[in-house]
């Protein structure tokens, strides 16, 4: 935990209440925000540290969101793009809970299928559904398997 307590804290100010997501692979912070559907329009105060030196990851990103505590389900979805992320829930300036991401069996409504001919992309009244494989994800409708650049599938909506 040394690098998160020193490097990171210097670069990103402490928050009073909210969530700190650390050990995100360098360059993925904006995808993490997208997956959590945080774009600032909701008024959340968001701090992002990108490509911060890290002992463990070389370069890492850090995201702090004020006044928002991530749910277990949200945390699990993060595992698709940030498998080693650590999540600290902060209450009254102190870390009150530490969460680790674990890979869910499926993710619903988060990713959009890259197969343009998939029925889940055709405006039907359904949420996209992906089964999580050891090394990728698989569309629950058309069976398409995606292994590279899963972040690109994050549904901007």
């Amino acid at each position: 935990m040394t690098d998160s307590d020193t490097d990171t804290e210097l670069r990103v100010s402490k928050i009073e209440n909210g969530t700190v997501i650390d050990h995100i692979p360098g360059g993925q912070a904006l995808n993490v925000l997208a997956i959590l559907d945080i774009d600032g329009s909701g008024g959340e105060e968001v701090s992002v540290g990108m490509n911060v030196p890290s002992n463990r990851l070389g370069r890492k990103d850090v995201v702090k969101v004020e006044d928002r505590e991530l749910s277990g389900a949200e945390v699990d979805v993060l595992s698709l793009i940030a498998p080693h992320a650590t999540i600290n829930i902060v209450r009254d300036y102190a870390v009150s809970e530490k969460l680790r991401v674990s890979r869910p069996e499926r993710v619903v409504g988060v990713l959009s299928c890259p197969n343009a001919n998939c029925i889940s992309t055709a405006g039907e009244p359904v949420d996209s559904t992906f089964d999580v494989l050891d090394d990728g994800v698989r569309c629950g409708y058309c069976d398409t398997i995606v292994r590279e650049d899963i972040a690109a599938l994050i549904d901007p909506a």
């Binding site: 197969n115 029925i119 055709a122 405006g123 009244p125 698989r138 629950g140 069976d143 398409t144 398997i145």
Partner: protein, 300 residues
């Protein structure tokens, strides 16, 4: 077999398949004997893309079982044209019928339909996805011709978009078949089918040239390479010509080689093959009715 829906071949166990094929053999032997099997059954035929054979064989099958069908008609004249979702169309038709046969141009359509209705849905082809009822009649044809044990099967043509190929390959994993896939590089099996074959521990080899395996095969399953897959006509012709078989080429095959094709063919099987003992594709098409009778009988 007792399934609510038939969406893909993966859901079929060997026992499921054999039960349908055994029952199909009864229907095949004496179709008239089952004319009162399902007198009140009404089958919804929902074909969002044209398919004469598949539709007619389901239609014939339900009528041979004493039931009847209602047909959505061509998409051009339906409310789908007005932008109605598939989910809504299916819910409405499920209210009229006892089972739905769905052909749709999008992958995953049958899966989606099944999520919205209480009646059984049979996937009669979803885009480049699956076509499991075709697979049952393919297996029936293979079983009649050579049995289903210890088979060496070659599958040739458009393996990427060929839904009949995807379903057949997945179903063959429940038998001890060795599979050889022959296609141009650009039309190899899609990643998801390869993944499933690998997961099931199937013995699979991929080739670009039929010569490499022809002499070993018990069954050669030929599919059409579709012209519209190629941006350039010349490119299409160069590729398609490589995957055409004729009687002369089959001289190098085993005498008991069974040649199959889901039809329609264009020119991938020369007419002179029709006169050889290898040709089983018309028989295969004929088997569509008893096999679909058996399938409907198990689901209604």
């Amino acid at each position: 077999m007792r399934h609510d829906h038939l969406i893909g071949a993966k859901q079929l166990s060997r026992a499921d398949i054999e039960a349908v094929l055994d029952r199909a053999a009864d229907f095949d032997a004496d179709p008239a004997a089952f004319a009162d099997a399902h007198p009140d059954a009404l089958l919804g035929l929902c074909f969002f893309e044209p398919s004469t054979r598949t539709k007619m064989s389901f239609d014939t099958a339900i009528k041979r079982l004493g039931g009847d069908s209602v047909d959505m008609g061509p998409v051009e004249s339906s409310s789908v044209k007005k932008g109605e979702s598939l989910a809504d169309t299916m819910r409405v038709i499920a209210g009229y019928t006892d089972a739905i046969v769905l052909r749709h141009p999008s992958e995953g359509a049958a899966k989606l339909a099944a999520d919205f209705v209480d009646v059984p849905v049979i996937n009669a082809g979803d885009g480049a996805g699956q076509h499991p009822s075709q697979t049952l009649l393919d297996l029936y044809t293979m079983r009649e011709a050579s049995g289903l044990d210890d088979l060496t099967v070659g599958i040739m043509g458009d393996l990427k978009y060929g839904r009949t190929v995807h379903s057949l390959a997945e179903a063959l994993t429940t038998f001890d078949a060795r599979m050889h896939f022959v296609s141009p590089e650009s039309l190899r099996l899609p990643r998801n089918v390869r993944f499933d074959l690998h997961e099931s521990g199937a013995v699979v080899k991929e080739h670009t040239d039929l010569d490499a395996v022809l002499a070993d095969l018990d069954v050669l399953y030929v599919t059409r390479i579709q012209r519209e897959r190629f941006p350039d006509e010349n490119e299409y012709r160069a590729v398609a010509g490589e995957y055409r078989i004729d009687a002369e080429l089959l001289a190098d095959a085993r005498d008991d080689l069974t040649v199959m094709h889901p039809l329609p063919r264009v020119d991938e099987i020369a007419p002179d093959v029709d006169r050889t003992d290898h040709a089983h594709y018309f028989e295969q098409a004929h088997n569509g009715v008893p096999v679909r009778m058996a399938l409907l009988d198990s689901m209604l």
